[in-house]
Amino acid sequence: MNARISLHVNGIDRILSIEPRVSLLDALRDHLGLTGTKKGCAQGACGSCTVLVDGERINSCLALAVQYVGREIVTIEGLAESGALHPLQQAFIEHDGFQCGYCTPGQICSAVGMLSEFRSGAPSAVTENGASPNELTHDELRERMSGNLCRCGAYVGIREAIQQVYEARKP
């Protein structure tokens, strides 16, 4: 039995009629035509389906679409503003932070969410004593981006791209 719901995606209300078991990922890809969000494992292990919900990164494959009514969903298609690439998108190109490009939307959305987590003072597993971290060190960056797999192995370029954007936006 289908449910008629409205999802707020990239600033636009989208109406769709879906079964309650449809994941947010499949709703985006197969029902709303937003195929920039990728499916790699459908079990939260690879991160290629990462989107932003109310500014936080989530694995959309582990989310049911019907649970996200009224939430602010941003996908890779919503990051560029009036044709201008998001600084992370630009930095990924400059630092060659991808090869095949399949995990890339998830990496970029994840990096957006990660940087805001970091700035809000959220500690990670490698932060000393669970205190608020001061510097986005190599280890902090690697730890915080380890939920996004890249089989082409663009990890070094991804780190350089994120680091550049972080440094440029330091208060």
Partner: protein, 764 residues
């Protein structure tokens, strides 16, 4: 080796080399770190992968897989599945249309992409655990997936050969290994070994691996009438896939089109036709609707093969001066009962060292598993682990620096074929690498560095991969508006195909890159070979070169129809393509543009399509790429945890076309090698033949936290025998990596780990 091949090889030695490519010395675009041309569409999510095409009326199919490895389907009950909501068709062996088995993968002659001779759905016989036994087509993916779980099967199971170890006693010598002799020998290496002063004799095991490209395999099939079909397909080989689908369904080759502009990682796993390709086409045929199969991750493990397991022995004998006197490399791999692919792990020592007496060979056994297939540097990846670990062990035995030991055994000529190397700068790669890495030369002392509870060690190993070139075709069209279009059915799966080919064509044609467009990823274009064997870039470049040479002659003739042309009287070998047109050699200002020549001749464009011949050069010369891999590890003395501190790869792979994308490819290979060394293993249940960790949660790919900073450097010395002086670089990066890590772990701990992956239990 076949008689035919021997004759061709003999003939190759008397044939003249191709003229050295003049582009070897050009730097306008070649050698520049140009951003990927498809970068913008990849970072915005606009690049469309095969499951993502919006097709009106698309149906979704899911597969049911066998749960035994061998036996017969006694009965299959699809009634409940057929009644499930949204289901429009259930296809089993009872109602599937007949399909032929495609020809084995080949790029010569008419391309083909068969990787297994298993009958797909057209049989009640089960030969591997995970074999597709039913296709369920429904109006949504969720409904198809659910209905597939409602199918009930009764098997008459037979004992399968599920275990590699159990199959080894039945191993046999294959007829050939990728066209080479399965065993080569010279002298009496066993006798030399027994009486040698210094001996190393080690056995190695490597487990099965899976490619695990992040994009799961997917196909959309759309029939037009009953004799024409279009596929959007995750393919590393559009031309082969199209021809094989034509074979399977008895269609004319021109009536099958495979479109695959973006592939979300392949690494060999998308090179062949696997069951989902043809089952999508079958489901679309039998329902009269466009159908998509997007495999689940587990589905990829069940019906797309991976890398074979191996057991290898390397025995080396050497004298006090560090000269190798005998070399033995032998071992066994697995293939399935449905294919013929003995993975070529015994290739590396055939080209690496001066070895006066040797026996290098391999055997293969059959198991009831999904057919094994090419995975990044098949052969060289696992072969270099064994060979380069043993070389390290011998350096310790000799109390000699591991680099020095290797350098003392650098061959003048290929040790097995006796051919000259076209380009080999191993010494330079090691020299550069050792200096930048800060390699402490001299005999290495184990357990000599420590930081608290962490033992530190450095390791080094040689990587190597052949320079392959495959028959490929390309069309070049130069238009009167001064632009060029280059077309080939080639694939992009992360190598930067569009970027590299546009750089090459612009340099070749003397045009700015903005005026050159490269069209690819479509079997209706001139056929490129498989994106495999690190061969694509150079293979297509040669076809483009040959087409350009035809166009140069044609355009010169057109120009010379005009009596006042500054090109009047020039012969074709006196002009070159430059400055957006044709110029006299050495006098770049004397020439005419393509636009002027074509407009004056009243022509809209000129075009040429060329197909390259077989790679004679690789029969005449020993053509290989080389690497010196350096790493530092730390091993926790109490927990056995192993972390990699830093990495440096120093490569000798001919000329580098694009440093930015090349470095990414090298690093990507190294990272896959880190996975192979540290975490990756496809686990088969030997009782049932079923893969137990068919998920990305349990098959552990390297993640950010596993990967240190990776420095990359390269000799950049052109190979005079190749277009632009370049070699393919997609696979060399993974070679030597596992050995470098294992050698560093030995340096840190004194424990020689010979079984991959190097998990913490093995060092405790």
């Amino acid at each position: 080796m076949s008689v035919k091949k021997k004759i061709v090889e003999t003939a190759a030695h008397v044939m003249q080399d191709r003229d050295r490519d003049r582009l070897i010395n050009q730097h306008r675009y070649i050698g520049q770190p140009i951003d990927r041309l498809d970068g913008r569409i990849k970072v915005t999510g606009a690049a469309r992968f095969s499951a993502e095409y919006p097709i009106e009326g698309l149906m979704f199919a899911a597969l049911a897989y066998s749960t035994i490895s061998k036996g017969v389907i006694e009965s299959i009950d699809t009634e409940e599945a057929e009644r499930a909501p949204g289901v429009i068709k259930v296809i089993t062996h009872l109602n599937a249309r007949a399909m032929k088995v495609p020809k084995p993968l080949s790029t010569e002659g008419k391309p083909s992409a068969g990787v297994t001779d298993a009958k797909i759905l057209n049989t009640d016989q089960i030969t591997w655990n995970g074999q597709p036994i039913a296709v369920v087509v429904a109006d949504t993916e969720e409904r198809a997936e659910y209905a597939a779980t409602l199918i009930k099967v009764k098997y008459a199971a037979k004992p399968g050969m599920n275990s590699f170890e159990a199959a080894i006693p039945s191993a046999t010598k294959p007829k050939e290994v990728l066209g080479e002799d399965p065993e080569v020998r010279k002298g009496d290496p066993d006798a030399v070994f027994i009486s040698a002063t210094h001996r190393v004799d080690l056995k190695f095991t490597t487990p099965p691996h899976n490619h695990n490209a992040i994009e799961p395999h997917a196909t959309i099939a759309i029939w037009d009438g009953d004799d024409k079909v279009t596929l959007y397909d995750t393919s590393q080989f559009t031309a082969g896939a199209a021809n094989s689908i034509a074979d399977i369904f008895g269609l004319k080759e021109e009536n099958v089109r495979v479109i695959s502009p973006f592939v979300g990682g392949g690494f060999g796993g998308k090179g062949g036709i696997w069951p989902y390709n043809q089952l999508t086409v079958l489901a679309a045929r039998m329902t009269g609707r466009p159908v998509r199969i997007a495999l689940t991750r587990a589905g990829v493990f069940r019906i797309v093969g991976g890398r074979t397991p191996s057991q290898q022995r390397v025995a080396i004998a050497a004298d006090d001066s560090g000269k190798i006197s005998a070399f033995i490399h032998e071992g066994v791999t697995a293939q399935s009962t449905n294919n013929n692919f003995p993975e070529q792990f015994s290739f590396p020592p055939r080209h690496l060292y001066a070895i006066p007496a040797y026996r290098i060979g391999q055997v293969v056994c059959d198991v009831n598993r999904i057919a094994n297939t090419f995975m990044r540097a098949p052969g060289e990846s696992i072969g270099t682990f064994a060979v380069e670990s043993a070389m390290d062990a011998m350096a310790y035995e000799l109390h000699m620096d591991p680099i020095e030991f290797r350098m003392r055994n650098e061959p003048e000529k290929d040790p097995v074929s006796g051919n000259e190397f076209s380009s080999r700068h191993m010494r330079e790669a090691y020299r550069m690498g050792a200096e930048k890495f800060g390699w402490r030369s001299g005999p290495q002392a184990i357990r000599s560095q420590r930081n608290g509870d962490w033992l530190i060690g450095q390791g080094v190993a040689t990587g190597t991969y052949p320079m392959y070139r495959m028959t490929s075709a390309a069309r070049v069209r130069i238009s009167a508006d001064g632009t060029a279009l280059v077309q080939s059915s080639a694939q992009e799966m992360g190598m930067g195909t569009e970027t590299a080919q546009t750089q090459h064509a612009a340099e070749r044609l003397g045009l700015p890159m903005e005026k050159v467009r490269f069209e690819y990823g479509d079997s209706s274009l001139p056929w490129a070979g498989v994106a495999g064997g690190s061969s694509q870039t150079v293979s297509i470049a040669l076809a483009v070169q040959q087409a350009s040479e035809k166009l140069l002659a044609e355009l010169l003739a057109l120009a010379q129809k005009e009596p006042t042309s500054v090109l009047k009287g020039a012969k074709v070998n006196e002009v070159i393509m430059a400055n957006e047109g044709i110029s006299r050699k050495g006098q770049p200002s004397i020439g005419e543009s393509y636009a002027v020549i074509l407009k004056r001749a009243g022509k809209d464009h000129v075009a040429s399509e060329q197909k390259t011949g077989a790679a004679i050069e690789t029969m005449k010369y020993s053509m290989h790429s080389f690497a010196a891999q350096f790493c530092e590890v730390r091993v926790h003395e109490l927990t056995g945890e192993i972390r990699i501190n830093r990495w440096l790869g120093s490569f000798d792979t001919g000329r580098i076309l694009n440093p930015k994308t090349a470095v990414s490819q090298f690093r990507g290979g190294i990272i896959m090698g880190i996975g192979m060394a540290m975490t990756e293993e496809t686990m088969f249940d030997d009782r049932t033949g079923r893969i137990m960790n068919a998920t990305l949660a349990e098959y552990h790919l390297p993640v950010q936290a596993d990967v240190p900073h990776i420095d990359v450097m390269y000799t950049d010395i052109p190979d005079p025998q190749t277009p632009m002086g370049a070699h393919g670089i997609g696979e060399i990066g993974i070679t030597g990596v596992a050995a470098a890590i294992s050698n560093a772990v030995f340096h840190a701990t004194g424990k020689r780990i010979t079984a991959l992956p190097i998990t913490l239990d093995k060092v405790l």
